[in-house]
Amino acid sequence: MAKVHVTTTVNSETVEFLCDPNQTLLDVLRDELGKTGTKEGCGTGDCGACSVTLDGRLVCSCLVLGVEAQGKAVGTVEGIANADGLHPIQQKFLENAALQCGICTPGLIVATKALLEKDPNPDEKTIRYWLAGNLCRCTGYDKIVRAVQDAAKDLAHPA
């Protein structure tokens, strides 16, 4: 199968890669670009561990083909912290002990960022329904929801 040349941006950096036409964006990120922060939990769009943004929209990268990234902007967990330090969402996940094993955490952080950009002040129900596509087996979600609430407050009124 001939590989396809794709030009895209990942976390605001221009990136070129060759991929198989049937290769998922998840596999491209992990296997071709070495960005292993995005995780695979199911490969069928059910667990959200591979959450990334595509032109700002939250998607499961296991359900997107690598070739579909052509000309688009991909956002992954690696792009959330910057040289100044952690993003408030990451900080609040840590402070609230909102992770145990940590495998779902990158997807949850990407999903939370997408939520708070869309709705800076979500109520608990909105948070729970927005994150319903991100499975966590360790925490029971309690501390995750609190971390998101805390992050929303922090972003609205930075300390």
Partner: protein
């Protein structure tokens, strides 16, 4: 309970030392590892639940381009007997045959061959080119029918263990266990009320989000290195070496970060296969399971049928109980029926009981440990029966439990005398909790249940290195699944009297750390924590000696206080205190680096009890249960990292709630699992759950320097019955079987309408 200021850092909730890596995507989990020159390993799995393997022809597959190795059971040495240590083992021979079938395929998805190839496509082509001739056999799928004399057999060499006389006929019943006390007939004769019921629960999976994965390489000297996601690197070394016919010293296991385990990563699946493929391929081999493979071919926990009869007097005193427990082992012996039998009555004083438990082979995946293995199923039965008993007696369900509650000195049904335990403290806390005392709205049901787990100790090693600036590096070998690095740092900081931030904990591998038992059994904070504390005490002893030599005084004149060597009370010496940094900075002149160490076999794990309160509403038109509230009360002994203890209670509750309401393996008549994915095997999502309230009781365990009991497993035990009892309260009758999925609840409601 501990006074507020008893400790400096224990009981606080600082950010974990591995936290930043885990929120930024830097942390390396099993599938994130690659090795230079690695090829792809994949497994061919049986399409039959039960079949003789007549022949396997690998010739065509081996001839394909890009294929480096093709192997099957015949390429592994004949595995010897002997048991595997740790929590998830059983017999090495069984694990070897589970890893790669020999002669018979025993469940749908059982590994029969494996390939290593240059790409996914080449590997898939090689799998397709393997020719296996099967003779299909009738699958054994029902645990009760499997026990009957005329059932087809999985293993004609399986003779029931623990019978009074050695049986002369093989059976699917691999083992029995009986626990008896007193005279049940007399006990039931004394009872004013009797409850008798059968409870069925299907297989359920741990559901960790990270699929099993590993990367293995074997060099020209025959030394294998395996990167993998494991709860027990040392047990994995033993199993991998044993199954591949290698010496222990020829296998190094390096545990990656682990994306959940809950008992399911205590046993090997891919690792020996990857090593053997690497040996044949002459290249590193990387293997990653799909989610479908995880469901079909790793170890869920037993489906069960439990029959309970319990009698009580009008005042609630339990007079007698019988229990009959049939546990599916899956394809090989090793169902957790023992702990099921030992826990079912553990919370109660009772003079007469007879408990019989059975480990039963069926053509389903070989079960593995799952958080308090065996207890949720058995205690669901008894805690449901006691709920019905309370209703029959017109008693408060917590009062019924309090009347019979075990306490210090009570002999547990499994023979041990309880040390100081917190069951009554948990019952009292639940009884006065606002979630229990508040008036419920119409149509809302409330249920309570008690949970119990033994907790274990066992062997652990730890080192603590003092760096030249006085910071401390702790090295231990328990993969950190839920924040245990932070707990180790807290205990080390408390012991040394230094700030939490100056201690960092790292997880070593099988060649950089001393032998340490699996992360499981709720043992890490207890046993490895004890080793870390002792390693720090070793540092203190050395620091006192260095201070004494610096001051030119006897060691008895030095005391360690708040992270400093100071003159002991009454020692009449005029010196400035020496901090850990002072001593470390000059260690070259006082004897060299300071390294504390401890290796121990921790005894005295503290039994842990819980009480859960569930609040539900049931939609009578759809049968859907909405969980409105959930409260987890549990005795932690001592909460080292408060937030992560709460997290264990909340996470265990969520798993138990999922088990109670939705999760089940659905097999068709051929023994094929029909819901092998997260869409259809539905674990709780954020919108399914409310906030989960926690009450952490602290009745310290005298066997641990800080009172730790261990908290990881007890939280999953009580939710099954608590939810079931709440549903019974809401709908007005008992639905004995789980899960209480909408179709089952609706059918039960409609059949009574």
């Amino acid at each position: 309970m501990a006074a507020q200021n008893e400790f400096k850092v224990i009981g606080t909730s600082p950010v974990r030392p591995d936290g930043v890596d885990k929120v930024t995507g830097r942390a390396e989990f099993a599938a994130d590892q690659t090795m230079s020159n690695a090829v792809v390993g994949k497994v061919l799995r049986s399409p039959h639940a039960h079949a003789n393997i007549k022949s396997i022809d690998l010739t065509d597959a081996r001839a394909l381009p890009g294929v480096y190795a093709v192997i099957c059971g015949a390429d592994f040495p004949e595995a010897g007997g002997g048991d595997i240590g740790g929590e998830g083992g059983g017999s090495l021979k069984d694990v070897a045959q589970n890893v790669m079938a020999r002669g018979k395929a025993l469940y749908h998805g059982h590994a029969v061959a494996a390939v290593a190839a240059a790409s996914n496509e080449a590997a898939d082509a090689a799998l397709a080119a393997i020719k296996v001739e099967y003779e299909a056999l009738p699958p054994v799928l029902d645990v009760v029918k499997a026990m009957e004399d005329d059932s087809p057999l999985l293993d004609d060499q399986c003779f029931t263990k623990n019978l009074p006389e050695t049986p002369d006929k093989p059976s699917n019943i691999a083992a029995v266990m009986n626990l008896v006390r007193g005279d049940v007939d007399e006990g039931f004769a004394e009872a004013d009320e009797i409850i008798e019921q059968e409870y069925k629960i299907p297989m359920a999976h741990q559901g960790y989000i990270e699929p099993h994965a590993c990367c293995a390489t074997i060099n020209e000297e025959g030394k294998a290195t395996v990167w993998c996601s494991t709860q027990g690197p040392f047990e994995f070394r033993q199993m991998t070496a044993g199954i591949c016919g290698m010496k222990l010293s020829q296998v190094r296991i390096v545990s990656s970060e682990i994306g959940g385990g809950f008992g399911g990563k205590t046993v090997v699946y891919l690792e020996p296969v990857a090593v053997m493929l690497s040996k044949h391929a002459g290249r590193p081999v990387k293997m990653t399971m799909t989610r479908e493979e995880v469901f079909r071919a790793t170890g869920p926990t037993s489906g069960t049928v439990v029959r309970v009869k319990v009698g009580a007097k009008k005042d609630g005193t339990l007079t007698a109980a019988t229990a009959w427990l049939a546990y599916e082992a899956g394809a090989f012996a090793g169902a957790p029926m023992g702990p099921g039998a030992m826990t079912i009555l553990a919370p109660y004083k009772i003079d007469n009981f007879k408990i019989s438990a059975f480990d039963v082979l069926v053509n389903k995946p070989k079960v593995a440990a799952y958080r308090a293995p065996g207890a949720p199923q058995s205690m669901h039965a008894m805690e449901s029966a006691l709920d019905d008993m309370a209703r029959k007696l017109g008693m408060d369900p917590l009062d019924l439990r309090m009347v019979n509650a075990a306490e210090e000195g009570t002999t547990a049904p499994y023979g041990a005398k309880f040390p100081v335990i917190g069951l009554k403290a948990c019952l009292e806390a639940a009884k006065k909790h606002p979630n229990y005392t508040k008036k419920l709205n119409d149509g809302v049901g409330r249920g309570v249940a008690v949970g119990f787990w033994f907790n274990v100790g066992g062997e652990s090693s730890a080192e603590a290195h003092v760096n030249e600036d006085g910071s401390v590096t702790v090295l231990e070998a328990n993969p950190d699944i839920g924040g245990s690095r932070a707990s180790m740092c807290l205990m080390a900081a408390e012991t040394l009297g230094v700030p939490y931030e100056s201690v960092k904990t790292y997880i070593g591998d099988t060649e950089t750390s001393g032998w340490t038992m699996v992360t499981g059994g709720s043992r890490v904070t207890f046993a490895t924590g004890m080793a870390v504390v002792q390693a720090c005490e070793d540092i203190i002893a050395q620091c006192k000696a260095r201070a004494a030599s610096t001051w030119g005084v006897d060691e008895s004149m030095v005391e360690w206080r708040d992270g400093e060597a100071v003159p002991a009370p009454g020692a009449n010496i005029d010196v400035e205190p020496l901090t850990l940094a002072d001593i470390a900075g000059k260690s070259a002149k006082t004897g060299g680096p300071i390294l504390g160490r401890a290796a121990l076999n921790a005894q005295g794990a503290g039994p842990s009890f819980s009480v859960n309160i569930a609040e539900v509403e049931v939609d009578k038109e759809t049968g859907r249960t909405e969980l409105l509230g959930f409260t987890a009360v549990q005795d932690a002994g001592r909460a080292i990292h408060k937030a992560y203890v709460e997290g264990q209670l909340q996470g265990g509750a969520a798993q138990g709630i999922g088990w109670a309401l939705n999760e089940e393996y659905i097999f068709n008549a051929d023994g094929v699992m029909e819901n092998a994915g997260f869409l259809d095997y539905r674990i709780p999502v954020a919108s399914d759950l409310p906030m989960i309230d926690t009450v952490v009781i602290e009745v310290p365990n005298p066997s641990h320097p800080y009172g730790v009991r261990g908290v990881g497993e007890t939280p999953i035990v009580a939710p099954l019955a608590a939810v079931s009892n709440a549903v019974a309260d809401a709908v007005g009758f008992r639905i004995a079987d789980l899960p209480l999925s909408p179709p089952k609840v609706l059918e039960a409601i409609d059949s009574r309408a």
